[in-house]
């Protein structure tokens, strides 16, 4: 079975740019995996994501070297409509993604574009809106809903198209804390169902670290590190120097470990941290 994504020595240079945005990247993402991509701004994360989606090279001019394949076929040779069906993409700005006049129409839009038969439409809308908890908003116009809600509408619109790969590009950066939590919950649920290959680009690693199967650090157009989360966050200080902010709990226990006070695995979440701390403080051995 083909891996979901194969990036093979891929480089991309935007027009008028002095150097490539993405430089000689090689990466394979198996189907069904949850990949978290981290790194400083303008390091090439979005360029890579757009190359998987096909926005690069279809919508953006530039120079490509190497190949990006989705389910065995080269992205640059696929039609926009096929790409839309296979790869969903959610952008970071909730405003700019809401192009219709009501929520229902917004979800409908993609479905009609890819030619989903009428008999299936109602079911898909219902399913997608339930998963993203926006069923009660279907009739509302964009100016009546919040940014977080709009972002969930964007996710619903893309999910309704039933893609095999879903890319979320900084989905929570312009969303309030409550909305952030809801979106993280949706990602957790999607991961649980294991029917999608999920790729999330985020700065807010605290929320997503434990969900990911693998975390990738991209800096200056190259992959600096790629590993399952526990391994990835092994030395948080190095990560901080690379422009990434590891979960605070991981940082805390890494420092304790550096002082010789802790010897266990580095926790990634509140729960893991509380347990590790309790054990440590009750003297159950580090």
């Amino acid at each position: 079975m083909n891996p979901a994504v194969e990036v093979d020595r891929f480089s991309w240079t935007y027009p008028l740019a002095a150097s490539p945005a993405v430089c000689d990247i090689t990466l394979t993402i198996p189907a069904g995996e949850f990949t978290l991509i981290a790194g400083p701004n303008e390091s090439g994360k979005t360029t890579l994501a757009m190359a998987i989606k096909g926005l690069i090279p279809h919508s953006f001019p530039g120079r490509q070297a190497g190949v990006v394949r989705v389910f065995g076929e080269e992205v640059r040779r696929k039609e926009a409509a096929i790409l839309a069906k296979q790869v969903g993409y959610v952008f970071s700005d909730p405003e700019a993604q809401f192009t219709s006049l009501t929520v229902e129409e917004e979800i409908l839009f993609g479905l009609e574009n890819i030619g989903v038969p009428e008999s299936e439409i109602a079911h898909r809308i219902r399913h997608a809106s339930e998963l993203t908890m926006i069923s009660d908003l279907l009739d509302k116009p964009p100016y009546d809903i919040s940014g977080g809600q709009k972002q969930r509408v964007a996710i619903a619109s893309v999910l309704a198209m039933d893609p095999e790969i879903l890319i979320l590009d900084e989905p929570t950066s312009m969303v309030d804390p409550l909305g952030k939590d809801l979106i993280v919950g949706i990602c957790a649920e999607l991961r649980r169902r294991r029917r999608l290959t999920l790729i999330v680009i985020e700065h807010n690693l605290e929320a997503f670290a434990a969900l990911a199967d693998r975390v990738i650090l991209i800096r200056a157009g190259r992959i600096e590190r790629a590993a399952p989360p526990r391994e990835f966050f092994e030395d948080p200080e190095v990560l901080e120097r690379s422009g990434v902010y590891p979960p605070q709990v991981t940082q805390v226990f890494a420092r304790l470990r550096a002082h010789g006070l802790y010897r266990g695995a580095l926790p990634l979440t509140d729960e893991e941290g509380i347990r590790a701390g309790d054990a440590l403080l009750r003297g159950a051995g580090a």
Binding site: K53, T99, L108, E112, N113, I114, E118, P142
Partner: protein, 281 residues
């Protein structure tokens, strides 16, 4: 904006659009103020019947007052060739009958058109207009771009407000500026509005690509576009009757008005009344 429930919603959007055309375009062919005043009355009655909150109409009063001031003001200050006109005195000022009468006729016409539009936009959401356009077989791309423009306009209003605040935050005191200075300012808005527009256009086109949209609106794999929403607006018999009726009345009005001159302002009873009132008959 639109009432939660309204008898209007029982009618198909195309029918409601036909009402808009009738109420708002007929006045163009009608000079007789009584007819236009009648249309205004009809619009007001329909607004009540449609359960629109009359408070919303109050928003338009300043506009109506301003337009009246403007039109009558011009008629007063620039009546034209005074030698050919009939003067009369009121409150110590000299007015000229023909330009004032014509201002009155035009004003009635304008307000009639306005109320037709007010009625339409108070009883139709953007979605309804879209469905009406699509039912009239307007190409999807056209109606979609129209909808997108509406959506963008909404976004721009927000941005515009923010930009005004930003200007104020840089010491621009809009209140103490003259009209001329404020007019010059409008060019200043273009810089941030363009910046926002360009960036957003970029993002929107990416979003459209990600949803598989092609310019024609035709779905992948060929065939016609499903147009799911339109299914939800059934066309009843009353829609056919009403639309046909409105279309017929519209045609008749144009014929009577422009071709046969039945709605000429000279034939207006009010015209006679006004002339007698100022002693010119």
């Amino acid at each position: 904006m639109v009432p939660v429930d309204s008898p209007f919603y029982r009618y198909h959007p195309v029918t409601r659009l036909a009402l808009l055309v009738f109420l708002s375009v007929t006045p163009l062919f009608v000079d007789m103020p009584e007819i236009n005043l009648g249309l205004i009355l009809a619009a007001l009655v329909l607004l009540r019947w449609g359960r629109v909150r009359m408070q919303q109409i109050r928003r338009y009063l300043p506009l109506l007052a301003t337009v009246a001031l403007f039109m009558f003001g011009v008629a007063f200050l620039a009546p034209g060739d005074r030698a050919r006109l009939a003067p009369f005195r009121l409150a110590g000022l000299t007015f000229y009958f023909q330009p004032m009468w014509w201002a009155f006729v035009s004003y009635c016409r304008l307000v009639a058109m306005l109320f037709g539009a007010i009625l339409y936009f108070s009883t139709n959401r953007e979605r309804d207009t879209l469905v009406a356009l699509r039912s009239l077989r307007i190409p999807f791309a056209v109606s979609y771009v129209a909808a997108l423009s509406l959506r963008s306009a909404g976004m721009f209003m927000e941005d515009f407000r923010t930009i005004r605040e930003a200007e104020q935050a840089r010491g621009l005191d809009l209140e103490s500026m003259s009209v001329g200075e404020k007019a010059k300012l409008y060019t200043m808005y273009t810089v941030p509005l363009f910046a926002v527009a360009l960036r957003r256009a970029d993002e929107i086109s990416n979003a459209l690509f990600a949803r598989g949209y092609t310019l024609s609106g035709r779905p992948a794999g060929g065939g016609p576009r499903t147009d799911y929403l339109r299914r939800r607006y059934p066309v009843e018999r009353r829609d056919w009757t009403l639309s046909a009726g409105l279309a017929a009345m519209f045609v008749v009005a144009i014929v009577l008005g422009k071709v046969m001159g039945v709605f000429s302002d000279q034939l207006s009873p009010l015209h006679g009344v006004a002339l007698r009132a100022i002693g010119l008959r």
